[in-house]
């Protein structure tokens, strides 16, 4: 027999009420954890996909679109830029590496990216098997692509024109798989990597007479008639020193007819747009949290009021005020702890179900663990609220007049 066991018995003697209080608190905790985790996962996924890319240079247009297309491979590109011009920019001493990418084709919805040797290192991607691209029409597959499409080294396939899977606009040249990357959990897992020449070659032969179709399809124009006139979609740049952040983008935007976009800045803007929704849901979750802490308070207060005689009786047994306060406190703590555990369980199962659906849609596992700090923050918040509920609920114990309560037993 301990004070703990009396607290537990008190809770067990009113199971329905206890369950309701715990469940409503758990629900709000689950909601808070869930929303934070979704946000954290989303940000992590985005930032993870940035790799080492500090700056993107592409055709003029929306900078967010440029970032979405060239870095996250989600949107259509803004257009093309001359390879020669891009090369000139890449020679700037503040730049550590400049990787050109060019695309316009897909295979079963996975984008084919023409690029150079510098692309894989941006994502720390290493080969799992096979070798790197050596000549035109060879490709290395991202891990997810190889797994989902069940392609092996030596397999060949025909790419479709544009960024959306289609059977009509198929190129006639076969691409050959020469390597597969290890999984990175980054965007490269979902890309098909080849060299720039492959893209140019495919579109060089067909470009002449299919030029009009490309325009209509709204896809990228990347045809060029002469080698000097070659075009790329964009240039991915990582800086050598941070001062480049201030000078280089402005220089490019002002002095060339290309545009420079900072992926981190653009994504922050994107979060801001999204933030309104996240804030609203968070707000609702906080309100539910306050309400459920109030139900915990009511539950404790009811216990103290309705069981005033029991508490007075315990005092005649020799219990001190402090022991009674501990009893109520433990009840609150048990409910809070149960709610917190149940909340974690609810948010975990809820999110994994949700992400299972998302995963199949976007072909990427987006669930990411909530940072410990945020987790602790929510934990601390709940703890403080419970503490407040307890402090308010024990008030009658401190003011209790045992004699009065005992003499009004009938």
């Amino acid at each position: 027999m301990t004070i703990w066991s009396i607290s537990i018995q008190n809770l067990r003697s009113k199971p329905f009420y206890t369950f309701l209080s715990v469940f409503s608190l758990a629900l709000s905790i689950a909601l808070l954890l869930g929303i934070q985790q979704v946000e954290a996962s989303f940000k992590y996924q985005m930032e993870n996909n940035l790799g080492d890319i500090d700056l993107v240079i592409g055709a003029k247009g929306s900078p967010l679109q440029l970032v979405l297309a060239s870095v996250l491979h989600m949107d259509n590109p803004t257009g093309n830029i001359p390879y020669e011009d891009a090369k000139k920019v890449g020679k700037n001493p503040m730049i550590k590496s400049a990787v050109p990418i060019s695309y316009g084709d897909n295979y079963k919805g996975y984008r084919i990216v023409g690029t150079t040797k510098g692309f894989a290192p941006l994502y720390n991607a290493a080969l799992e098997e096979g070798r790197a691209v050596k000549k035109s029409m060879e490709v290395v597959l991202g891990h997810t692509v190889a797994k989902q499409l069940q392609l092996k080294i030596g397999d060949t396939f025909l790419s479709s024109h544009g960024l959306v899977d289609n059977d009509i606009d198929v190129h006639s040249e076969k691409l050959k798989v020469v390597g597969i990357y290890k999984p990175t959990q980054k965007i490269i897992d979902r890309l098909i990597i080849t060299n720039l020449e492959s893209i140019w070659d495919v579109h060089h032969t067909e470009g002449e007479h299919e030029h009009g179709d490309e325009q209509e399809g709204g896809s990228i124009e990347h045809s060029g008639n002469a080698y000097e006139g070659k075009e790329i979609t964009s240039l991915l740049i990582s800086f050598r020193n941070p001062s480049a952040f201030l000078t280089l983008p402005r220089k490019i935007n002002e002095q060339t007819n290309m545009q420079a976009a900072l992926p981190k800045y653009e994504l922050d803007r994107l979060y801001e747009y999204m933030g309104v929704g996240v804030k609203t849901i968070s707000c609702i979750a906080y309100i539910i949290l306050v309400i459920s802490c109030m139900t915990i308070f009511i539950s404790l207060y009811k216990m103290v009021k309705e069981h005033a005689f029991d508490l007075a009786l315990l005092r005649t047994y020799g219990a001190s005020n402090v022991q009674l306060i501990r009893m109520v406190g433990y009840e609150g703590c048990i409910m809070g702890l149960l709610a917190f555990l149940l909340g974690i369980l609810l948010s975990k199962t809820g999110l994994s179900l949700m992400f299972k659906m998302v995963e199949t849609e976007y072909k990427q596992n987006m669930l990411h663990e909530l940072p410990l700090m945020e987790f602790l923050q929510i934990g601390a918040l709940v703890f403080i609220m419970i503490l407040a509920a307890i402090v308010l609920a024990i008030h009658p114990i401190i003011k209790m007049n045992i004699s009065t309560i005992l003499s009004h037993e009938n």
Partner: protein
């Protein structure tokens, strides 16, 4: 042993009405019946003796301890260890079963929890079949016997009973009083019963009327 001297008491709310109580002197194992009409201050006297109320003047000694010279926490401990209280309609802790109630009684009076002793006592009070029963499953007579068990389990010096029989029929009244007197004797405790129930008067050699 109990000795009170010149106790007076006044409720803060009730204006100027001051209770004065006759002095009580009880030797070891001596029992006392306190009779009186309602409102005369019987329960007040009992709560003063239990240390639940503080007298305006006068002293109350249990054993050799002047209980109102103790600090509040010392008084809590003293009450828990040396005093047993029986009420009219006995309330045990609702959320605990019969055995757990007795365990908690021992726990709060800082005594070792002895299940042999608990079972023995329940046997004596004919409650053996209700060890795991919730308090609200017991009949009135059973509840009153549990009340007696709770007042003696910790081997107190004094058992104070407040109208223990007034809601019981003659048969239960007799049984409860026999058990109370018997238990007080076994524990070498003083038994003080306050009541307006004249049925139990013959059971006491010493009685005062307020």
């Amino acid at each position: 042993m109990i000795k009170t001297k010149n106790i007076t008491f006044k409720y803060k709310k009730n204006g100027n009405h001051r209770f004065t109580f006759p002095d009580i002197t009880l030797k070891d194992e001596e029992n006392l019946l306190i009779l009186g009409k309602s409102g005369i201050g019987k329960t007040t006297l009992l709560h003063l003796l239990a240390g639940l109320l503080k007298p305006v003047s006068g002293t109350i000694a249990i054993g050799f301890v002047d209980i109102h010279s103790l600090s509040p926490s010392q008084l809590d401990t003293f009450r828990g260890q040396h005093i047993g209280l029986v009420f009219q309609k006995n309330h045990a802790i609702q959320s605990l079963n019969v055995t757990e109630n007795l365990e908690s009684r021992l726990f709060f009076s800082r005594k070792a929890i002895d299940h042999v002793m608990i079972n023995d006592l329940l046997e004596q009070l004919d409650l053996s079949d209700f060890k795991k029963s919730k308090v609200n499953e017991l009949s009135e007579g059973q509840l009153q016997r549990l009340g007696i068990a709770l007042s003696v389990i910790h081997n107190p010096q004094v058992i104070l009973a407040d109208e223990p029989t007034s809601s019981l029929d003659d048969e239960n009244c007799k049984m409860v009083m026999d058990l109370l007197i018997n238990q007080a004797k076994q524990n070498h405790a003083n038994l003080i019963v306050i009541t307006h129930d004249h049925r139990i008067k013959p059971l006491f050699s010493k009685a005062i009327t307020l």
